[in-house]
Amino acid sequence: MKLTTMAWRNLWRRKRRTAITAFSIAFGVLLAVTFTGSGDYVYTNMINTGAQMGLGHISVEPNGYNQTPGLDKRIHQTTALRQQLIMMPGVSDAIVRIMGQAMFASARKSVGGAFIAVDPAQESSVNNLFIRSIIAGSRFTDSNGQGIVIGSRMAQKLGVTIGKKLVYTTTDVNGEIVSEIARVSAIFQTGVTEVDGAMALLPLDRVRGTLRYQADDATLVAITIKDHRATDAMTAGIAAQVALPEREVLSWRQTQPDLAGLIAMDRSSNYVTQTLIGLLIAAGILNTLLMSVLERTREFGVMMAIGMSPHTLFRLVITESLWLAIIGLVFGIVITAPWYHYLNTIGIDFSGAMGDDYSAGGVLIDPVMKVYLYRESVIAILAGVFGLTLVAGIYPAWRAGRIPPVASLKTL
């Protein structure tokens, strides 16, 4: 009789025990998919949303800007740079922006905040979170006009509505304080309190004039890429092509360290949780297999007495755990598939539990928990569960091979 067939049959000698063990493996798969999947989904969302809040996944910016931002720092020939970047494989968009601090004042009040000067032709609701979040009015279309798009809380603080004027004050390229008038063309609401209260979009060419920039100057070119997992490779690739001594290429991990830290922390706590669950499941499998070996001491003794080598016995028990792993995984896939489908398409709505501020690390997050698994995560989960089951089988299998034939026949 073949070893695989024998192991399969051995497993079903105790149907209920095998089924329960297989279920615990399947449950492990389910938990791993839920945890890893929600992580993959949330991190992807946060990274992509963060990229749409100004800096992109990768940014080409003046040297030192990241450490000490200021409107005196700028890069030149941005139009040509943008053209070059857009042509690169894997780049979905490259956008020229000026980012800085400003004070916004109305007749009622003034608030400190930040602005992003944007070229209306380059920005859309796809690559700009603020444009996507507009709740009133419509965004400006003239890059040299007097339009401004402000957050809902800022509008409320300043007491302005669509069409009203406000004055923004900032420092120009020489560090001189400059003021300019603008009229509210639209109001956005992202749900992130500090963003809604302090962020504004201004027309790029107008701001260039105010800041005394040359026509092609800007703070940075923000690059969004098709798959954020390629960030590091693409940052290096872009740096190799466009690097100049006066500018640097940085990834979102460097420009948004809060977000990167948050994700890294969340991810490691996720790993710890999953490892603990994995260990618990492995202990269960180990227990099952060890029991099944110990209760068959006499049987193994007989087998060895009629000429089966300890090595073959070891392989037999390992094959049993292999079968158990396969049954568990198949079972796991069967119960996880509909669950995954549900979470992937509908998700669980946590908006009631989260209150009004859907943000983490200054980045908007979706109050509906959804999951999405990367292919490498699927492989990692399957390999992890499979490997864990096999590892759990090693000790019982070793025990089986060590059974002394004569002594074991005397027992029981």
């Binding site: 004042a105 109305s106 007097q146 004050t169």
Partner: protein, 253 residues
């Protein structure tokens, strides 16, 4: 035009050197507004004043000494209360520096901090620097002339030009007809609703001429609140060394 600048420090210590040109404003209005400018004109100044601030949350009083030279250089140092003594603000060109003796730190205010309140008053840091950039921002016209209440007044209405970086809808300035002493300056928002008002009172002879010595600002949305500046001493055209307006001198108490 000094008066419309609402830069109270410069207003208070009277360092008017520039006179705005009102394009599109008739000759008489221009002359009158310039006369008011002249009332406050001086190449340099040195004064001591008291500031009283009352808000819904607190009331405070402080005295301060101020020096100015031209429109670009101003230094204000707090004399009392003791807790704040030595705190200084230096305006040099369009930059404002703030010095806190407690921490021995000088900071340059960034554009984002311009909206913050100056020493807890109803003036913002921006109010301190704006005035030197006020030229050519308004069209002025006389909107009323005659008896109002007890006295003859002239009322000017100043409307900001459409592209001027001015938040107001209009500014109404009232002066006494007899000696052209300013009485009030009222700011309206774009919907012509009252935004804030300045009133001037207690005309006394100070620095060789009659001047209002008390200025009070009241924000329209909190009418029980105010900031009042009372001039106790004022000298005009006194020799002041440029060195006074330096960062090193800012730290000296």
């Amino acid at each position: 035009m000094r008066f419309l600048t609402h830069s109270w420090i410069t207003l208070a210590i009277v360092l008017c050197a520039s006179s705005a040109t009102y394009a599109g404003t008739d000759a008489r209005t221009r002359d009158l507004l310039r006369q008011i400018d002249d009332l406050w004109r001086g190449d340099s100044s040195h004064g001591i004043m008291r500031m009283e601030v009352k808000t819904a949350h607190y009331a405070r009083q402080m005295t301060m000494e101020a020096w100015s030279k031209g429109t670009e250089q101003t230094l204000v140092r707090i004399l009392s209360p003791v807790k704040e003594k030595g705190t200084a603000t230096l305006k040099s060109g369009t930059n404002i520096y703030s010095y806190l003796p407690k921490t021995d730190r000088t900071i340059r205010l960034t554009s984002g901090m311009m909206g913050g309140s100056w020493m807890g008053s109803h003036f913002t840091n921006d109010d301190l620097v704006r005035e030197s950039r006020r030229e050519d921002e308004y069209d002025a016209a006389i909107s009323f002339e005659g008896r109002r209440g007890e006295q003859d007044v002239i009322e000017f209405t100043l409307v900001p030009k459409s592209d001027a970086a001015v938040v107001w809808g209009k500014v109404v300035l009232t002066i006494r007809s007899t000696d052209h002493i300013p009485l009030s300056e009222i700011y309206y928002d774009e919907d012509m609703a009252l935004a804030r008002s300045f009133s001037f009172s207690a005309v006394k002879n100070m620095a060789n001429g009659p001047r209002p010595t008390v200025m009070q600002v009241t924000p329209a949305d909190h009418s029980e609140e105010y900031t009042r500046v009372i001039y106790e001493q004022l000298e005009l055209n006194v020799p002041i060394n440029d060195e006074l307006f330096s960062l090193t001198r800012l730290k000296q108490r």
